[in-house]
Subunit: 139 residues, 2 copies
DNA sequence: TTATATAATGCAAATAAGTGCACCATGGGT
DNA sequence: ACCCATGGTGCACTTATTTGCATTATATAA
């Protein structure tokens, strides 16, 4: 299903370097299309396939994470510290939630379910404060 | 981003009824393609678009949930009780984890983050016991 | 510096999922 | 039973993402 990171040799790639740098420079959890648009001026013949492929490479290296936002687009981030996501279903904004609620959760589930947990993901869905303000006081 | 369930009138649809029944009859978290294949004999000119559309309708009704399995396919389930998922990255199996670990988590995050949490999703990634057995004793 | 192996890229084609539209079907009114 | 408004469906097309392949670029050794 997914190959065990078999340390295949990587070569330097300017595009991958800039892609990672770009992702590390924002906290907006951008889409692949946005990353492509931002890099296009610097690499006039960049292709979207390369963006996706480099995102995959960076994900395998553990430097980038893919976020299923619930919309039709996936989003990406380069924040490596563990955190959760607050996903606003109204405007699509993704907010990082830094507090480490349950450090022992993986071990707990591993034991309870006979399943070797290697990591987990927690996403909260709801309405962000900006959208609530815009809507008046409902919800 | 997502419309507030505005109670638009629904009509009876045999295909949607059978789709829901099929989904309720399994705990394998099937893909849209599998559902399509299973329903095709009964509805010879069923189209995949209809499957996707009916899944969306059922999701809006709260009868079905979409699961981002991390693979290239989305998966679906009709289990409405809250539970978490153990997703094996080796064979793709999704196992339900029924224990309600943190009932108060939504309220807690709502308060801490000024975000109106309406629900959450917790997924654990790792290796299932079948795969560990098959692999020998590693991991 | 040149040669060699192979990773990275661009392009186009393939997939999975979502959507517009013309037509069919359900259900409430007559 | 018939009419009609509108929801549901099939089909084809679009969108988001992945992948095959020929070409280009990186890295290492000669
Ligand atoms: Zn919002
Ligand atoms: Zn984040
Ligand atoms: Zn497995
Ligand atoms: Zn489940």
């Amino acid at each position: 299903m997914q190959q065990q990171s078999r340390a295949k040799p990587l070569r330097y790639s300017r595009q991958r370097e800039r892609l990672l740098y770009l992702l590390q420079s924002t906290d907006t959890h951008p889409t692949a299309g946005w990353l492509y648009d931002m890099l296009k001026p610097e690499f006039p013949n960049l292709s979207l396939g390369t963006v996706y492929r480099n995102l995959s490479v960076l994900i395998e290296q553990g430097l980038v994470k893919k976020i299923d936002s619930g919309s039709t687009f996936d989003r990406y981030e380069a924040k490596t510290t563990p955190h959760y996501h607050l996903i606003c279903h109204e405007c699509g904004t993704i907010i990082d939630f830094e507090e480490q609620l349950f450090p022992e959760i993986d071990a707990l589930v591993s034991k309870a379910a006979d399943f070797a947990v290697e990591g987990h993901r927690i996403d909260f869905f709801g309405t962000c404060s900006a959208c609530r303000t815009r809507n008046g006081k409902n919800s």
